[in-house]
Symmetry: D2
Subunit: 342 residues, 4 copies
């Protein structure tokens, strides 16, 4: 049984506590939050769980094997580093840190101490994304031409992070998982419509060495909620609508074809191919449950998380690059440290 | 009765001929095309219309008052200039020219000769776009925060122009019509997935001095067809789905509110407002019919077309800027000649 | 504070307990269920609530003012009657009884003892149905021509009641609320596809003296889930899609018009009118919360519930009539006791 | 080359003329209509086609091999019989006659003279219906539990026939094609909301000996247009949405399962199965083209049309039965002459 201490019981923390309380192999040992009222809520729901306003109590507790951190991003580095230095395995909310430098240090510390570091990019554990990954890796889509995502709705405006850290971060992790390739350049544009607040709308393009192009459109200021991804390959194409109650992922046997004859290409003699559409059944296990049990499995069996610190770091690099480009009105930002995705 | 000669009977020409044949006040006098087979089709459908493989025959004909040009873009300048020099009013397919320099010359020539020059940006004549313009100009939406458009489908790949000239051109003209403001900068990214062919996918952001931001996502390589626009204002927001058979335009009484208190903004105490939704009845006159009769009206009564050469020129400037930015991976391109939209 | 005892902690009971626990003015005093395991769950979640396997304990408890019954339909009459005879106000799950005779007796008993009897037809307390009622009563729709409903999905097959009691019952209560008129005749068809089980699919038409016609299509055997109602009036028409996350109710300014001239009608010179569409904002209070507080209000202030026993009885009459018609392959069944809806 | 004479150039006639003009193997020889203005239109579009106000001219013309009749239903019998007696093959608009007796006489006359009699039930020639037929006949759906159709929209109100003859007729022909079984009983309800006009709304249930149940909901008075069919089988289920631009037909690997154990059925231990969804590519040939060439093929090669007079007669029987039941408020009407569908 892995004993877990949770730091932060605000927006996401209660989900973590509920999840680890029910995940097999895990046990919630203690919860820390600065707000005593929130700790009362914990106490009422989970009488056996220790509560404290001092996170150090969790780090000092030798019975606690792992720490899960669900606090504001600005505290991730300090808290995460303290947890690792206390010898605890670490579950970190996304994005894992404010800067890629911080993220690198966390990764290095975890590696040095051989501790499990999982960054909570939950989408990677959904049935939809896993099925898409499976299809892509099996070559069903052929060469990936593009990935095009829309994540827009009204709110929730955030104080400390822009819409890139809030929403585009999902696409960055999904892309890393699906493509296994790190972008070489980023161009982003966006704006804040309310002075003194973070950007609430952004358009981000990612360029890959392989020729794949990815784009995400994120906004807190749309009249309708949209969560839609298109993935186009040389053989097949996918739509993924996360708001559909069923048949979220659809695979279209559609595409275009040129022959090898360069003259045909010149003359744009394009063949349009339209075949069947197919919506595969998706696994229905809750993503957070799968992720929680994966974390336990990594700790117990010395495995590397699917969303490890390296993935988390690559995501932070993209947030940095996109933010920098956005502030330069789309200026191309090249990814310095061209790491290969796992 | 305005006698019209049509040059080019390929993809769009037949629509022009059919339209002018039925528009009140207009008469199709002659059709020119290099392909005699196409002329036979004209003859069969419209026995009274003269046909010729030499467009000069139309320019020389003193009974022809106006020329409509529906040939490939690369010929627009030469043919259009010849028509103007022959003293004919001019209807030009979009985009009006390959370069902004050519477009400027056409505009100047038409102005000098006091000839009507209409560029066929058909969307401006649809009930949906006109209703949106009406609402925006009446202040119903408040300050315009953003315009966000998606135009994707499978094909038709074109040989001579990129997807920007083919599809984004619609957003450029609609934006000019809706906002009455010309962008100050452009950032675009895009790619061609097939070497030796024009770009088949592009993402374009337009920046405006007023703070409005516009974006269009265009592709010939999507498994599904989408034609969707969001317009967000400080008071209301609009969705426009051109594929809906009815209720294409929906007006949402939705938004967010900060008070003037800067501290509230700092703390992101955002109010989310959700009221009624409303889909106004749209005029059902065919856009091309309205546009055709508007052209006749401009000629007869000396009016300026709603989609005149100046608008056409501004659109060509945006195509140039977007194309340039796209080839620089999103590099910001500033619009030199910051013309105010009419 | 009204103390409530809940009998039955199966499928719906937990919703009642959670709801009354949070409704202002109400207090959950005790829960009875035959299954001790279910009572353990109650105890864990609500340590202060008394639990018992004997419902008589609740009836005998002088501190309990009202009983809510969420047991199988076959027990409603016996349990409900016992509660009333013990002087308790009564909340009864729908349908209120197996037969209209039983329902009549319950109504009479409650009336005699001046006890509140609320039948849990939850839909009547939703923002959508209330808005529709408001529009209809304000004359916005004009004369009601028809009501047409679809409630289909895969499952849940039930052992003791047919799909009419499970799903059509919603339409019967909504119709009663919207029209304030009781049907004069019913024709229903339906079938069970699995011998020895209740009917899993039914089509029911209700005829009204005013000329209104109503229809509901209910099924446990559909590949997709649909919850859609059309209401057509002489002035306007409504669509209500309960699965839409927002804009559930849409009001169409559409219709047809004959003039008074009988010759026009003869020649079917019909005018089709299409105006704006409008989706009113709906109240977002949870229906069950509104209903729970309404129950308390009725007890405290001697009011009559909007879904009182008379409405519940009319619904049972329709279930009986529809079931009888269905077993006669659509044979017209006239409603004997033509009661006027309140 | 089969020479065809068309009688009636009103609503549907122009489609027939255009279609036969382009169908391979067919030639439009002459068109008859009582209205000289309509004949002028024919003349303008098809200068080579003879026109006449006297249909007898077509019957007398020895060069005409076949007659297509697109006149009001009330004239089908007289005109159709005259054409057959003149030795012409016959294409009849649906429904083929006003009464089943008339339809029987037409069938008998065509059989006696060995003339091709095709009733224009166009839906049978669509890619969607043919694919559904293919899947059902291949046993993909298993035993057919139900067929459930909705055909509603605003208008067109008709003077001489009810909404059953106008819209439900499509379901009657599709059912005949898909099931190969004729119903044994019908229950229908419906009404006309405008005195002195035909019924504008109807709900019809068809009962089959095999246990299949079919239902269609047709209306000229709905605020939205719907064309949706569900077909449920013991193995798979289908949705067919005719208004979808693509993926009209979707096959769901969904269902429920009882084991053979009668006790399980008693206790409603139902298993719900949800697998993949699949949208097969549909043939895109225009239905009317396919039907026209099929008509020619039947004449030339002595084949029996897929929508022959026997099918047309069975459809008329169902219209009669449904109309009779509707006027008796759902009274069960048994199909006297229980013919087996081909």
């Amino acid at each position: 049984m892995i004993n877990i201490g949770v730091i932060g019981y605000g927006y996401w923390g209660p989900n973590l506590v509920r999840n680890f309380a029910e995940a097999s192999g895990a046990n919630i040992a203690a919860v820390a939050d600065l707000d005593p009222k929130k700790l009362e809520t914990v106490k009422r729901r989970f009488p056996a769980v220790k509560v404290t306003t001092d996170f150090q109590d969790l780090l000092k507790d030798p019975d606690i094997h792992a720490i899960a951190i669900a606090t504001p991003v600005s505290t991730h580095f300090e808290l995460g580093m303290a947890a690792l230095k206390a010898g605890k395995h670490l579950w970190l909310e996304k994005p894992m840190a404010e800067t890629s430098l911080q993220a690198q240090k966390l990764v290095a510390e975890a590696d040095k101490r051989k501790l499990v570091l999982l960054v909570d990019h939950t989408f990677i554990y959904t049935g939809a994304v896993r099925k898409m990954g499976e299809l892509i890796r099996a070559g069903e889509l052929g060469r990936i031409y593009y990935y095009d995502s829309i994540r827009v709705n009204l709110g929730l405006f955030q104080r400390d992070v822009s819409v890139i850290s809030d929403l585009a971060v999902h696409d960055f992790s999904i892309l890393d998982y699906l493509l296994g390739e790190h972008p070489i350049a980023v161009s982003a544009s966006g704006t804040n419509h309310f002075p003194g607040t973070p950007e609430n709308l952004a358009y981000i393009t990612l360029f890959y060495e392989s020729g794949t192009i990815a784009h995400t459109n994120v906004s807190w200021l749309a009249p309708v909620k949209v969560r839609q991804i298109l993935v186009g390959g040389s053989k097949k194409m996918i739509t993924y609508d996360d708001l559909e109650p069923s048949e979220k992922v659809k695979v279209y046997d559609k595409g275009i074809s040129f022959t090898d004859d360069p003259k045909q290409i010149q003359e744009m003699r394009v063949g349009y191919r339209t075949g069947d559409m197919w919506a595969p059944r998706l696994a229905t296990t809750e993503a957070l449950r799968l992720e929680g049990e994966h974390f336990v499995d990594c700790i117990v069996n010395g495995k590397v998380p699917e969303t490890d610190g390296h993935l988390g770091l690559r995501v932070v690099e993209l947030i940095e690059a996109a933010t920098s480009s956005m502030r330069g009105r789309g200026e191309t930002v090249y990814i310095q440290n061209k790491r290969k995705a796992s």
